[in-house]
C-alpha cells in the first residue's frame, strides 16, 4: 500500500517536473541573453536588456516569429553574469541545459564571451556575442558568432588614426592585464604602432589589475617616458579615473580610447576631463540617419538616454538571429536538431545590413565592417569624426 502510494506520488512529481518543459519545447522559442547586469560594467548589461526588450516587443506585436509558415511566440531568458568569467559560464550552462534556449545572445565583454563561447560550442548551441572584439571568442568554434569587428582590425585603425591625425611617433599604453579585451587590444595596438613607427616606439607599456583605482605610479612613469599620446583600451568606469588622474599629474597631451569607451555612462562619470578625446567605436549616435536614427529615437524616448554601441550591436545581433531562425526551415521541437539548423542558417548569412553598418561574414563567423572614430564634444556627445573601413 505504502509502496504503491509512493509510486503514484513519484510519478506525479516527475510528471510535474517535466511537463512544462515538454509544452515549452513545442510552443515557444527561447532566446538566452547572457549580460552583465551587475558587477563592473552594469551599464553594458542595461543597454543589452533594453535593446532585447525592444526587439521582443516588435516580435510580439507581429504575433510571434514566423518559421516555416507557422508563428511561434518568443521568450527571452535574461540572466546576469555579474561581469565575471565564471558566472558567464554558469549562466550559459544553465540556459542551455535547464532553460533549453535555442540560441544565446551575449556575453558582451571578451572576458566573459571567451569562456562562455567554449561552453556554447561544446553543447552545440549557437551563440552570438554582439560586442566581444577579441579573436579568441569565435576562433575554431563553429557555433559561436559575433556582431562586431575584431581587435586585430581595431588596433591598426587606432594606430593609423593617431599617426595621420597628430603625426606622433611615441605612444604609451595603459591597460588592465587581468581582462582579455584590454590585454588583447593593447597587444594589437602595440604591434600595429611599432609596425608604423619602428621598434621601441611604444615608450611605456604599463598595466594594472581589475578594480585598481590608483594609477598614479603608472601614469608618472608614462609622463616621464616622453610619450606623445596615451592609449588606454579600458571600460567606462576606469576611463574616468585614468583620464582625471593623468590630467592631475600634468598630462596635457591627447588620450585615445577604444570601443569600450562608448558606453552611455562614460561622460557622466568622467565629466569635463574627457571632452575633446577620441576613441574608435561601432557607430556614432550623433547625426545618425535611416534605420539607425529610428532605433536611437525609439530607445531614447523609452529610456531617456541615447543608446550606446552595446545597445545598437545587440539589436543588430538579434536581427541576425531572427533572420537565421526564420530561414532555418522549421522548428521540429527537438532542441538539439533545431540548434544545429539555426547554426547552419547563421553560417549561411553572408551579408547583413544593420544599424551599425553593412557587414560581411567570414568563414569563422566574424563580420567585416567599418569602424568609426568619434570625438567627445564639449557637450559630452559622441560626434562622428571619421570612418575607417577594412
Amino acid at each position: 500500500m505504502r509502496k504503491g502510494l509512493l509510486f503514484v506520488v513519484s510519478c506525479l512529481v516527475i510528471g510535474l517536473i517535466f511537463s512544462p518543459c515538454a509544452w515549452g519545447k513545442a510552443k515557444t522559442i527561447k532566446v538566452g541573453i547572457n549580460a552583465p547586469m551587475t558587477g563592473d560594467i552594469p551599464k553594458v548589461g542595461e543597454g543589452t536588456k533594453f535593446a532585447a526588450q525592444m526587439w521582443l516587443k516588435d516580435i510580439n506585436a507581429a504575433g510571434g516569429l514566423q518559421v516555416g509558415g507557422k508563428k511561434y511566440p518568443v521568450e527571452l531568458v535574461i540572466e546576469d553574469n555579474e561581469s565575471k568569467a565564471e558566472s558567464a559560464v554558469k549562466v550559459a550552462t544553465k540556459m542551455i541545459t535547464e532553460d533549453e534556449v535555442l540560441v544565446i545572445v551575449g556575453p558582451q565583454a571578451s572576458k566573459q564571451a571567451i569562456p562562455a563561447g567554449g561552453v556554447a560550442n561544446n553543447y552545440g548551441t549557437p551563440m552570438i556575442s554582439p560586442w566581444s572584439t577579441n579573436p579568441d571568442t569565435t576562433k575554431d568554434r563553429p557555433f559561436v558568432f559575433r556582431g562586431c569587428f575584431l581587435d586585430p582590425f581595431q588596433g591598426p585603425v587606432l594606430a593609423n588614426f593617431i599617426k595621420e591625425e597628430f603625426g606622433y611617433k611615441k605612444a604609451a599604453v595603459l591597460y588592465d592585464v587581468a581582462s582579455d579585451y584590454p590585454k588583447g587590444l593593447a597587444e594589437f595596438f602595440k604591434e600595429a604602432w611599432e609596425k608604423v613607427n619602428g621598434a621601441g616606439s611604444v615608450v611605456a607599456y604599463e598595466s594594472f589589475t581589475t578594480k585598481d583605482a590608483d594609477f598614479s605610479s603608472q601614469l608618472t612613469k608614462i609622463i616621464k617616458s616622453g610619450a606623445d599620446v596615451l592609449f588606454t583600451p579600458q571600460y567606462y568606469n576606469e576611463v574616468a579615473l585614468i583620464v582625471q588622474q593623468a590630467h592631475e599629474l600634468g598630462w596635457k597631451k591627447p588620450i585615445v580610447g577604444s570601443d569600450s569607451w562608448g558606453s552611455a555612462e562614460t561622460v557622466e562619470l568622467c565629466g569635463k576631463d574627457c571632452y575633446g578625446l577620441f576613441f574608435s567605436t561601432h557607430y556614432a549616435s550623433a547625426a545618425a540617419k535611416g534605420a539607425t536614427k529610428v532605433f536611437i529615437d525609439r530607445y531614447k524616448k523609452k529610456h531617456g538616454y541615447v543608446p550606446d554601441d552595446v545597445g545598437a550591436l545587440t539589436w543588430d545581433s538579434l536581427l541576425i538571429v531572427q533572420e537565421a531562425i526564420q530561414s532555418a526551415g522549421k522548428i521540429t521541437g527537438n532542441i538539439e536538431k533545431d540548434r544545429k539548423a539555426v547554426r547552419d542558417a547563421l553560417a549561411r548569412i553572408k551579408e547583413f545590413d544593420g544599424i551599425t553598418g553593412k557587414m560581411t561574414f567570414t568563414e569563422d563567423g566574424d563580420p567585416i565592417k567599418c569602424a568609426v572614430v568619434v570625438k567627445i564634444s564639449d557637450k559630452g556627445e559622441y560626434e562622428f569624426y571619421k570612418s575607417v573601413c577594412p
Partner: protein
C-alpha cells in the same frame, strides 16, 4: 629627481587611505581581540553616505536654500557622514559581534565576512549596480612645483588624514575614555571587573573606527570619484595587511604601516614593471612579517595570549 618626488607625493596620498582604514582594524583588535572583516565594507558604506550627504547639500545649495561655498559643504559632508557611519559601526557591533563575544574567535571573524557581504549586496539592492560619481565639490587645481605636480585635492587629503590621526592620538592619550580603551587593550578580562563598561567601550571603538573609515571613504571619493558597492573588499584586505604589519592593536603602528604600504606599492611600480606591482609589494611584506611576526609595534604576549 622630480620623478622620485612625484612618486613620493602619490604615495603619501595613497598611504593615507590605508592608514585611516588600518586604524579601525587595529583599534577593534586591540580591544576585543577581533578582526572586523566587515571594516572594508564600512569604508564603502561611508563613501556612499558621503555621496548622499554631499549630493543632498550640493542640491540644496544650487537651489539657493543654503548659501555655502563648496569647501564648507565638503567639510560638513565629512563631519555628518562620519557621525552617521559611526552608527552603522555601532549597529554592526551590537547585532553582529556582541552576541558572539564569548564565541570562538573564528566564528566572530566569519561573522565579519557575512556582514561585509550583507552590506555589499544590501547596497546593490538599494541603489542598483550602476556606478555613482562622487560630486566634485572642489575644482581640481594642479600646482607645478618644479616638475612635481601636486593638486589641491592631494594636499587636502593628506592634511585631513593627518589631522584625524592626531585627534585620535590625543583622544586615546588624554581622555578618560581613551584611558579605558588602553586599559581594555591591556587585559579585557580583568579590566571590566574594575567597573569599566565593556559594552560602552566596545561600541565606542566601533564608532570611532567606522567614523575614520567614513572619512577615508569621502576622501577616496574626492580623489577617485567613481564609487561601486565592491570597492571596499580588496581595499579592506590591504588595510588589514597594514594593521598586521603595524602590530595588532597599535595605533601608531597602523598609521605608519598604512603609509609604508602605500609607499611600497607605488615605489615597486616605479622600479619594476607595473604588472608585477602587487606580487613584489606583498612579497616584501611577507618577508618583513617573517622577521617581525608581531609587526612593528605589536607586543608578543598579546598575540600569544588570545589567538
Amino acid at each position: 629627481m622630480e620623478f622620485f618626488f612625484q612618486n613620493l607625493v602619490n604615495a603619501l596620498q595613497w598611504g593615507s587611505f590605508y592608514a585611516l582604514i588600518a586604524l579601525g582594524y587595529s583599534m577593534v583588535y586591540g580591544i576585543l581581540m577581533l578582526f572586523n572583516f566587515a571594516h572594508g565594507d564600512i569604508f564603502m558604506v561611508g563613501a556612499y553616505i558621503g555621496f548622499g550627504v554631499a549630493t543632498g547639500l550640493a542640491t540644496l545649495a544650487s537651489m539657493g536654500a543654503i548659501a555655502l561655498p563648496n569647501w564648507v559643504i565638503l567639510v560638513l559632508t565629512i563631519i555628518i557622514s562620519m557621525f552617521l557611519t559611526s552608527f552603522v559601526g555601532m549597529i554592526v557591533e551590537r547585532l553582529g559581534y556582541r552576541p558572539l563575544r564569548e564565541a570562538p574567535r573564528a566564528s566572530a571573524a566569519i561573522t565579519g565576512l557575512m556582514i561585509g557581504i550583507i552590506l555589499e549586496t544590501g547596497n546593490l539592492a538599494l541603489l542598483g549596480a550602476r556606478r555613482v560619481r562622487f560630486p566634485s565639490l572642489i575644482e581640481s587645481t594642479t600646482y607645478d612645483l618644479g616638475g612635481v605636480f601636486v593638486t589641491n585635492k592631494k594636499i587636502m587629503i593628506v592634511g585631513v588624514s593627518l589631522m584625524l590621526m592626531l585627534a585620535l592620538h590625543q583622544f586615546v592619550r588624554r581622555t578618560k575614555y581613551g584611558m579605558a580603551m588602553r586599559a581594555m587593550a591591556f587585559d579585557y578580562v580583568v579590566v571590566p571587573l574594575m567597573g569599566v563598561p565593556i559594552n560602552t567601550i566596545a561600541a565606542m571603538t566601533f564608532a570611532i573606527g567606522s567614523a575614520l573609515a567614513a572619512a577615508a571613504g569621502i576622501l577616496f571619493g574626492v580623489a577617485y570619484p567613481v564609487l561601486d558597492p565592491y570597492m571596499g573588499i580588496v581595499f579592506g584586505w590591504k588595510a588589514f595587511v597594514a594593521a598586521i604589519l603595524g602590530g595588532r592593536g597599535s595605533i601608531l603602528g597602523a598609521t605608519l604601516a598604512g603609509f609604508l604600504l602605500g609607499f611600497i606599492e607605488i615605489f615597486v611600480a616605479m622600479i619594476f614593471p607595473s604588472t608585477l606591482r602587487d606580487l613584489i609589494a606583498y612579497s616584501i611584506i611577507l618577508i618583513i612579517l617573517t622577521f617581525r611576526p608581531h609587526g612593528f609595534f605589536g607586543e608578543p604576549y598579546s598575540a600569544r595570549l588570545r589567538l
